[in-house]
């Protein structure tokens, strides 16, 4: 095993009744990286992180932490992994400070260390002013940040953040993003998201999973390059248009053309100069068009290319 490998997942499978949540999943996570687990809702991301953290028992396969097989709910794992669930998991009748102290106590930390960690986390996550307010009275953004603080109170080696930006207002989103970046040097961060932008901005490497299976794993830039060079032109089409090729045959091998959910996607170099010609051809053939957008390649394009579906659902 590579010395830099912190967590290794080998042929992990987990099902709930007839539903196969994770199927034969294998991947490696390196020490000190931000690892993105990208996939649509129901792809098996949460199940995967629950298996990684020992909260779930796999049907088969194993999780290896620093070369040691991880047993479900192994006490040695508890202090090394911090998990921030997708939903805010809070004690609403306690204050943020009381919650952090209580959880620190449950991890068996010393009072002085708990105090130090509390102060630091409350400050860094912008919760100092509301530290002694009852949690039920806090805003959504504050509650989300407290959810993250609770995952970090015991100073874990691996931090698992399940959809950390979900439900956040733009301001809180920026502050959470900055905080995750600040962790990078010392910690290994595993990030699950269905937000391609979030994964693209934060992750060093991204694994795209769908229906419990690993589709692809690489750096975001490398993944985006696999889709093809150039920009992407998106043109909304009238509902029901599925065939477009003869209209745009003039593009030849210069472009890749896809229709996904009534949106025509054309990937090619120098699209700005080709735009007028493309629109004229569509109009000449009587194809009604709507919104037009020119953008860079994203991880969603990778997912679409792999599955033929969008990520958001």
């Amino acid at each position: 095993m590579d010395e830099g490998v912190l967590l290794q997942i080998k042929n992990l499978t987990k099902s709930y009744g007839d539903v196969l949540a994770v199927h034969d999943l294998s991947l490696e996570i390196f020490s000190g990286e931000v690892f993105g687990l990208l996939g649509p809702n129901g792809a098996g991301k949460t199940t995967t992180i629950n298996l990684m953290s020992g909260l779930l028992q796999p049907d088969s396969g194993e999780v290896i932490l620093r070369g040691e097989p991880l047993k479900a709910r192994d006490p040695t794992v508890r202090g090394r992994i911090g998990i921030c669930p997708q939903e805010n998991v809070l004690w609403n009748k306690l204050t943020p400070y009381e919650q952090l102290v209580f959880l620190g106590d449950m991890y068996g930390m010393s009072p002085s260390r708990i105090r130090h960690r509390c102060q630091m986390l409350l400050e860094v996550l912008g919760l100092s002013e509301c530290a002694n307010k009852i949690t039920a009275t806090l805003s959504g953004g504050m509650r989300r940040r407290l959810n993250i603080a609770l995952a970090l109170i015991h100073d874990p080696e691996i931090i698992i953040l399940d959809e950390p930006e979900a439900g956040l207002d733009p301001q809180s989103r920026i502050s959470v993003r900055e905080f995750i970046k600040s962790l990078v040097k010392e910690k290994t961060v595993i990030l699950t998201t269905h937000n391609m932008d979030e994964a693209d901005r934060l992750a060093d490497r991204v694994a795209i999973i769908d229906r419990g299976e690993l589709l692809v794993l690489d750096r975001p830039e490398a993944l985006k390059q696999t889709v093809g060079e150039g920009d992407v032109l998106e043109i909304s089409l009238k509902k029901g248009v599925t065939q477009i090729e003869p209209t745009l045959d003039f593009l030849g091998d210069r472009a890749q053309i896809l229709i996904v959910e009534d949106v025509l996607q054309i990937r090619a170099l120098d699209l700005v100069n080709l735009l007028q010609q493309i629109l004229s051809s569509l109009h000449d053939r009587g194809i009604q068009t709507g919104d037009i957008r020119l953008r860079k390649n994203t991880l969603e394009d990778v997912f679409i290319q792999l599955t033929g579906r969008r990520l958001r659902e």
Partner: protein, 380 residues
């Protein structure tokens, strides 16, 4: 010590949930107040209607005797009203404005006079009318009937071959009906906590905080004991508050309050056990609330806390009859409190009830822990 930390955390949460806590603590005193308002004199006064058709004076003498009947406290036992119309009397019985209606016949005095002189006459027929489904009818009829019977005996000089000698147990002779209800209400005040305990524990499941705690080095036993302790404390406080309100409203306590608190504390352990069983089968707080109603009703109505229940004997062990309801901890708690508070018994006299209560409470608690661990703390 993690148990202590969880205890403090749970206590804080319960204290801050002022509505649930307030309702849980108020329910016992509220019941006491309700009973006190229902029985302002401390005991029930039975309504008796009398139609006096007697042509002589003795019918009126019977009415005066009925009116003079009192409890040891001096409160009237019967509320006697004379009435001239049988139809009106029956209407009042139907409306439960009165429990029993007596008709004293025309020949009542003549018959008594004849009998007192050794003559023979057909018996005068005193008629009793009442709604036999009214639980107070039998008591009112027996009380008034006994008075008339005794009057007849004195007037005729008749000597009965059998006399009854009544010996009251402990201080029971001086007890009012209000006093008799209090031990049951005290246990209800503890049993009501099944809501707060099942909802508190289920909150940890529903909110996901239980999973969060499972990631720490906390043991399941730390959590369950730590969560249970505030409820036991709350049970004792609830019982104490209820008892204090009862005392303020005239409850005639004969025993040790400390012994009563001990019984309440042990009963609270059983209630926590039931709360854990409810939480084991609940996914949400609202579901726990609904499920908790079932054991609550069972404990309230089948333990004798609300009214006496017939014993269905299951087995006989070492001379003791074990009934179906003996499997419910509150049954023994009510028995113990009755003996302590009503009869003035010491703990040594309620040893059987206390031991049964401890054994059953621990059994329920262990079943609760086992089920909760199995259903909510096991890995998926």
């Amino acid at each position: 010590m993690k148990i202590l930390k969880i205890f403090w955390k749970s206590l804080k949460e319960q204290v801050r949930d002022s509505v649930t806590l307030g309702l849980s603590l108020v329910i016992g005193p509220f019941f006491v107040l309700l009973y006190w308002l229902m029985i302002p004199s401390g005991s029930t006064t039975y309504g008796v209607l009398v139609q006096n058709l007697d042509t002589g004076p003795q019918g009126q003498q019977v009415i005066e005797l009925l009116e003079s009947l009192t409890y040891p406290s001096g409160d009237p036992l019967l509320d006697v009203s004379t009435i001239g119309n049988q139809e009106r009397a029956e209407d009042l019985l139907r409306d439960r404005e009165a429990e029993v209606f007596f008709i004293i016949p025309e020949d009542f005095s003549v018959t008594l006079q004849t009998a007192s002189q050794g003559g023979v006459q057909y018996p005068a027929e005193v008629t009793l009318v009442g709604d036999l489904t009214n639980p107070y009818y039998a008591v009112g009829a027996v009380m008034a009937g006994s008075v008339i019977d005794e009057f007849v005996q004195v007037q005729t000089g008749e000597i009965r071959p059998i006399q009854y000698n009544e010996i009251a147990l402990g201080a029971s002779a001086g007890r009012s009906e209000f006093d008799l209800y209090i031990p049951g209400i005290l246990i209800i005040s503890v049993v009501m906590l099944v809501f707060i305990v099942s909802m508190t524990i289920t909150y940890e499941v529903e909110a996901g905080t239980l999973r969060r705690l499972q990631m720490t080095s906390m043991k399941a036993s730390d959590l369950l004991i730590g969560i249970s302790l505030p409820t036991v404390l709350l049970g004792v406080v609830s019982l104490l508050l209820t008892l204090l309100v009862a005392l303020a409203l005239g409850f005639n306590n004969q025993g040790s309050i400390w012994s009563a608190l001990l019984v309440g504390g042990i009963t609270a352990v059983a209630v926590v056990g039931i709360g854990l069983i409810v939480a084991a089968y609940s996914k949400s707080v609202s579901q726990a609330f609904i499920i908790a109603n079932f054991p609550l009703i069972f404990f309230m109505f089948f333990s004798g806390a609300v009214f006496p229940i017939p014993r269905i004997i299951l087995i006989r062990i070492a001379g003791l009859n074990i009934s179906l309801y003996d499997l419910l901890p509150p049954t023994h708690a009510v028995m113990a409190l009755n003996k302590i508070l009503t009869l003035g018994s010491g703990l040594d006299s309620v040893l059987y009830e206390i031991i049964s209560l401890i054994v059953l409470s621990l059994l329920y608690y262990l079943i609760g822990i086992w089920l909760f661990q199995r259903r909510q703390l096991r890995l998926g």
